[in-house]
């Protein structure tokens, strides 16, 4: 029940955003997070963005894993 999916914020009006996932658009309440910009990915849960996804962290983790395993 704590399911949360990454959606891209494509529009923003005050604390209401429009998120897009797989071509489907829906409203996202942005009041639980700070400083969301259009283009950011957020984790959507029960209508709310509960966190902004850290894209740098996401990419670093994957490239680190790939690097480690290439050396093995």
């Amino acid at each position: 029940m704590c399911l949360g999916i990454p959606v891209k914020i494509v529009e923003k009006k005050g604390s209401v955003g429009i998120g897009e996932i797989g071509g489907v658009k829906r409203e996202v309440d942005l009041r639980l997070v700070n400083n969301v910009k259009v283009g950011d990915y957020v984790i959507l849960h029960a209508g709310f963005a509960i966190q902004v996804l850290d894209e740098k962290e996401a990419e670093e983790m994957l490239s680190l894993l790939r690097e480690v395993f290439e050396r093995l």
Binding site: C2, L65, R66
Partner: protein, 371 residues
């Protein structure tokens, strides 16, 4: 989809799995995934089949639907029976059996019970039905609780007088402590819930390695995430260095989401609460603060529920503590199926019995468990 597909890379999964086997070196390790979403992902991606036989994965009490006690379902039904009340709930709660009935049975009898996607939708329903009392069944963990807090604050700000919450919310850290204090439960490490942690952060779990010596990894939900989380745990256990690691750093911050935490604190306060399988755990639930009692249905209409014993052979309680698996249940797959569920672990789409039923009756890990 971005930030999903790349975490499903099967090559990376295989490499992680072989690294896990190499480091564990035949050592018998028991890990518990606490979150129902993890249970589902582990089953869906066949993670158990990728792991060496010496690593056992158990499911814990991390599905809010499954840990709701019979008496609480009875209470929700009692409210739904009242004149003039529309009870709103997440869909997963509909089929959960209470002592004698379920919300979906009551709905078919003509009670006004509606499935909503969020507490905000329930509030909208209250606004468009001013002559009715709309009650939202507040079930869920830290992930969901702030969204319910916002609905109460919105109702207050907009002067909505017919919106109420029945708060049955539960908190994960006290449940983990209760599990660790239970002598029957044996776990070496916890795969910690990613989205609960998004709200509460890393710090909330520090007592687990410090006081109990049990390994911890906050983990995301895709197969690469889960295998990497398991690798972190196996390393902590094999090297004897338990701590709280954060595999899901792209989403979980050290201090969680302080804004969401403040909203929870504004509206709710801790209270003792009963969990199916675990009994009453001190300060593991949340009730609405007096300040917001105008939105607390239990303050407006008092209902006393008598605890009654129900006799089924369902062992959900033991499954939720990780001391039994669905294969130990004589009803599993026979009298109890997702179409005709006997217990909540089969009802909930994230329940352990439902996961076992849906994915891989025949998987290797399950065959071995049977032996």
């Amino acid at each position: 989809m971005k930030y999903i597909d790349e975490y499903r890379d099967s090559k990376l999964c295989e490499k992680l799995a072989s690294q896990i086997a190499k480091i564990a070196k035949g050592k018998y390790i028991t890990l518990m995934e606490v979150c129902g979403t993890h249970t589902m992902s582990i089953a869906r991606y066949g993670i158990k089949n990728l792991l060496p036989p010496n690593i056992q994965l158990l499911s814990g009490p991390g599905c809010p639907v499954c840990v709701t006690a019979d008496a609480d379902i009875d209470k929700a039904i009692a409210y739904a029976e009242k004149e003039n009340i529309i009870l709103t709930t997440f869909g997963d709660m509909m089929k959960v059996p209470g002592t004698f009935s379920s919300l979906s049975t009551e709905k078919s009898k003509g009670r006004e019970i509606k499935v909503v996607y969020s507490a905000a939708d329930a509030l909208q329903l209250a606004i468009s039905n001013p002559e009715k009392i709309v009650v939202f069944l507040g079930v869920g963990f830290e992930t969901t609780i702030p969204t319910v807090a916002v609905s109460i604050l919105d109702a207050k700000m907009n002067g909505i007088k017919n919106y109420y919450v029945l708060s049955m919310h539960k908190l994960i850290p006290p449940a983990l402590r209760a599990l660790l204090d239970d002598k029957e439960v044996c776990v070496d490490g916890f795969i910690l819930p990613g989205h609960v942690s998004t709200i509460i952060g890393v710090e909330a779990y520090k007592v687990i390695p410090e006081e109990y010596g049990v390994a911890c990894a906050i983990t995301g939900f895709e197969p690469v995430d889960i295998l990497q989380g398991i690798l972190l745990l196996v390393k902590q256990i094999v090297y004897g260095k338990p701590r709280v690691e954060n595999q899901y750093r792209r989403v979980v911050k050290e201090h969680g989401n302080p804004k969401a935490q403040r909203l929870i604190e504004e509206v709710f306060e801790p209270t003792d609460c009963e969990w199916r399988g675990l009994g009453v755990i001190p300060r593991s639930g949340l009730k609405i603060k007096d300040k917001y009692s105008d939105f607390d249905i239990e303050k407006k209409i008092k209902i006393k529920i008598q605890k009654r014993k129900k006799n089924t052979r369902c062992i959900c309680g033991e499954i939720l503590r990780g001391v039994k698996t669905p294969l130990d249940c004589t009803l599993f797959g026979k009298r109890c199926t997702p179409e005709n569920p006997v217990g909540p672990c089969m009802v909930s789409s994230e329940g352990t019995c439902a996961a076992y039923y849906k994915y891989g009756f025949n998987s290797r890990a399950m065959q071995e468990e049977k032996l």
